[in-house]
């Protein structure tokens, strides 16, 4: 029971991580809920092996990304082009334009492959290329190459989307 309490308390402090991964990988609310549940279950099963030599957040990222990447939906759905749900408040200056850009970029990210999404997620969380490489099981050099390619892809897709909107 002590272990369960400890796990729940740690997870409650870090549940934003799980939510971020679910938001990134699933576009439908019901799918997000399923993935959320699956990540929690996988984390709980693996929790006894968490020894605290890594940060809980890093460990939880690993569990969440492994689960999201190997999570399989039988029925294929079209990738979300743009997610138009609740949006956070943006700075007042050029509010519309910035919001549009963020929306376009977010849409472009949602069209990436599962692996590229994981790389972007860890990059946004300010992990170094070495740390990302360690989590993904590839070299830091490979991460750098992939990130450059992803940046270009995102730039192109975002520009196309913004051009269509204008």
């Amino acid at each position: 029971m002590g272990l369960e309490k400890e796990f729940i308390s740690l997870l409650n402090q870090h549940q934003r991580i799980v939510n971020k991964v679910c938001n990134l990988y699933m576009d439908r609310h019901a799918d997000r809920e399923d993935l959320f549940q699956e990540i929690i279950l996988q984390a709980w099963k693996a929790f006894p092996s968490f020894r605290g030599d890594a940060k809980f957040s890093t460990w939880l990222y690993r569990v969440a990304l492994n689960t999201a990447i190997t999570f399989f939906r039988k029925e294929k759905r079209k990738p979300a082009v743009f997610i138009t749900e609740t949006f956070p408040e943006m700075p007042a200056e050029n509010e519309d334009s910035l919001e549009e850009k963020v929306k376009a970029m977010y849409g472009a990210i949602s069209m990436l492959s599962k692996i590229d999404k994981a790389l972007v997620m860890l990059y946004l969380e300010d992990y170094s290329y070495n740390e990302i490489g360690e989590m993904m099981g590839i070299t830091a050099n490979n991460v750098a190459v992939k990130m450059n390619r992803i940046r270009l892809k995102l730039k192109e897709t975002t520009a196309q989307q913004l051009a269509i909107n204008d």
Binding site: E4, I8, S9, L11, N12, Q15, R16, N19, K20, N23, L24, Q37, E38, I40, L41, Q42, W44, A46, P48, S49, R62, V63, L65, N66, T67, I69, T70, F71, F72, K74, E85, T86, F87, P88, K101, V102, A104, M105, Y106, K114, I115, D116, A118, V120, Y123, L124, E125, E134, M135, M136, G137, I138, N141, V145, K146, I150, R151, L154, K155, T158
Partner: protein
């Protein structure tokens, strides 16, 4: 528009749109059922082990206690094959358990899952195909050489058919049954895990290409 320019806004966007869960909600989720393919594979392995043990007991009993020599040999061989398959299923369950406890890097995790599923598919197929000669050729051979009379078998032997026709009937039956089992097993396994394996391999390929 660069990714880095929008980093903080994107982080903020990703963190929104979620329901905050209470401790009780999370505690409830810990008792929920898994939806992952590997979780379902584990569940199906458990069921197969249970059914395997259930089948193994009568097979072993007949293999020892039957009055017919052919049935004793037939059921003993089938029981040995079943026991070997059960051993493999237990080994696969252990590998899945280890996988859910060790949090591996993404690429190793993908490799492990692919290996487990491929091993399951390969062995399942081998086991099914190994049962074909045991069920058919071996059974015919043993039945033919059975010193005692077996009613059903004797009925077939005594059918008023030409010996050549009887042979053709047996050969067509053997080939038809083997082909059916071969394609059905392949189709069934591909239907269960084919798409998932293809998706995982695609992720693995993407990770390894620089």
């Amino acid at each position: 528009m660069e990714l880095d320019e929008l980093k903080s806004q994107l982080k903020e966007k990703l963190a929104t749109d979620h329901t905050g869960r209470s401790d009780a909600d999370i505690a409830f989720l810990l008792r929920a059922k898994t939806n992952s393919v590997i979780g379902k594979l584990k569940k199906s392995l458990r069921k197969e082990i249970f059914l395997g043990v259930l089948v193994l007991l009568p097979l072993g009993y007949i293999g020892i206690a039957s009055e017919y020599r052919s049935l004793r040999i037939y059921f003993s061989v089938t029981a040995v094959l079943c026991a070997a398959f059960l051993g493999l299923l237990i080994y696969l369950i252990k590998r899945i358990n280890r996988l859910s406890v060790d949090i591996l890097p993404v690429s190793r995790n993908l490799t492990e899952i692919v290996r487990i599923i491929e091993e399951f598919i390969r062995r399942y197929f081998q086991f099914t195909m190994a049962l074909v000669p045991v069920c058919l050729i071996f059974a015919f051979f043993l039945g033919y050489h059975e010193p005692k009379h077996i009613d059903g078998l004797d009925h077939f032997v005594q059918l008023q058919l030409d010996a050549r026709w009887k042979l053709w009937l047996v050969v067509i039956y053997l080939i038809g049954f083997t082909v059916l089992v071969y394609y059905f097993t392949k189709w069934y396994l591909r239907k269960l895990y084919g798409n998932y394996l293809a998706e995982l391999k695609e992720c693995m390929k993407e990770l390894t290409i620089e």
